[in-house]
Symmetry: C2
Subunit: 246 residues, 2 copies
Amino acid sequence: MTHAMPAVIPIEPFKVACSNCNLRELCLPVGMSNEQMERLDGLVNTRHNVAKGESLFHAGDHFTSLYAVRTGFFKTCVSSEDGRDQVTGFQMAGELLGLDGIGTERHTCDAVALEDAQVCVIPFQQLEELSRELTDLQRHFHRIMSREIVREHGVMLLLGSMRAEERVAAFLLNLTQRLKSRGFSSHSVLLRMTREEIGSYLGLKLETVSRAFSKLQEDGVLQVRQRQIDVLDPEALQKLVNGAGC
Amino acid sequence: MTHAMPAVIPIEPFKVACSNCNLRELCLPVGMSNEQMERLDGLVNTRHNVAKGESLFHAGDHFTSLYAVRTGFFKTCVSSEDGRDQVTGFQMAGELLGLDGIGTERHTCDAVALEDAQVCVIPFQQLEELSRELTDLQRHFHRIMSREIVREHGVMLLLGSMRAEERVAAFLLNLTQRLKSRGFSSHSVLLRMTREEIGSYLGLKLETVSRAFSKLQEDGVLQVRQRQIDVLDPEALQKLVNGAGC
DNA sequence: CGCGAGCTTGATGCCGATCAATGCATGTGG
DNA sequence: CCACATGCATTGATCGGCATCAAGCTCGCG
């Protein structure tokens, strides 16, 4: 890797271990027995801290590991040769980063921390080895990759056929649902990303994102105060996303 | 599955086998030894014929198998509840269909044959079993999934930041490159899909696709006769895709 | 306090959607 | 073989949504 290496924390007072991680119901170990999880512990034994604004990896970096977000918030973005770039996703606790690198053994996008973050390092070769023994792990890993493909289908649908306001609504709904499944409020969100980053993800300019927020506020659907978003009328959001064509 | 089941062809004069398939350098067996390939033969022993316009699977169908395209041409499309729909990809010989179904054990998109087609059926559970034994198979399968994710990143970039003519150029370049790697001409393409399907894939209306073709013809980049496209100036296409921002 | 990054809001223009008419190829039945 | 229907493609005219350009505004921070 060409960029500054994040600090490595090999051992902690509480042992780095999936088996006592509070994210084990969201992350790689979903549905695994205690015995299986201990095998996984033998593999996931380092964490990286990534400061806000720093990259976990860059496009072109040699691929060796996947990363599970423990704390913090990331964006991933691809860029074409001429400098066009596109945010391809936002990742929060329990989600995996680096799946893009498996295909060519090089990462194809940048992963940037939007706030101070910590990730668990999952050496990919060892993950493949272990998943040859643990069918539950194998199956779950395949599911994770498949779901990423399906998620991207959803983004393609959004980018290909929704109007600005609908895109923003879909974005907010997705975010609040993911927060909810992590035990946070589903009607109050503190955005970690700028309007420009949201716009890049949604195929819009930052001004358009801003106007969409304002419009949704006018309509009584949201309360917007900078990055603090309160969803006043979740059903209206849902209607925008689903019932838009009618 | 609720739709008509395609005909099943269990045994052929030439045994259904990856090891004597002329697509083995493009498909699942890439880079496998003869011995490994024989193991794979034991798994891939049925083929389905799918007539033009018929679906291989529908969104909601129970997922059991992946499918490798042997002959013919497919599109996959997702649709939202309100009837919006989006073509998420076009698949040709040697490419896999069905990866979307692994995550939830249900397919999330439709796979429709754009011309009479034949696919090899790959029972997924058996594939997982075998890939626990054959590390080359395991690695290759993971690469295929990862590359699908990366491909979709590219589509997101296209949908999020390119203008109509650039999208069409990118689409044609991608198609010709894939045809070339299959031994076909890279400057002469017979499109298997309608303008509307291209438009859906690219986030454009069919009229816009048509206009883009006409414009590229005017500029001497293409020769367009219905679905027969001849690329006269491949470099101009490439410039449109890459150097557009400048 | 003043600076700057990020956000909001307004005015204008352009790209692509939409609506509509015509053209072209294929197929079907008289 | 021709008349007609049908599905797909092209082309033109008009419209609207989002980009662009530009000007303030807000808030955190040195």
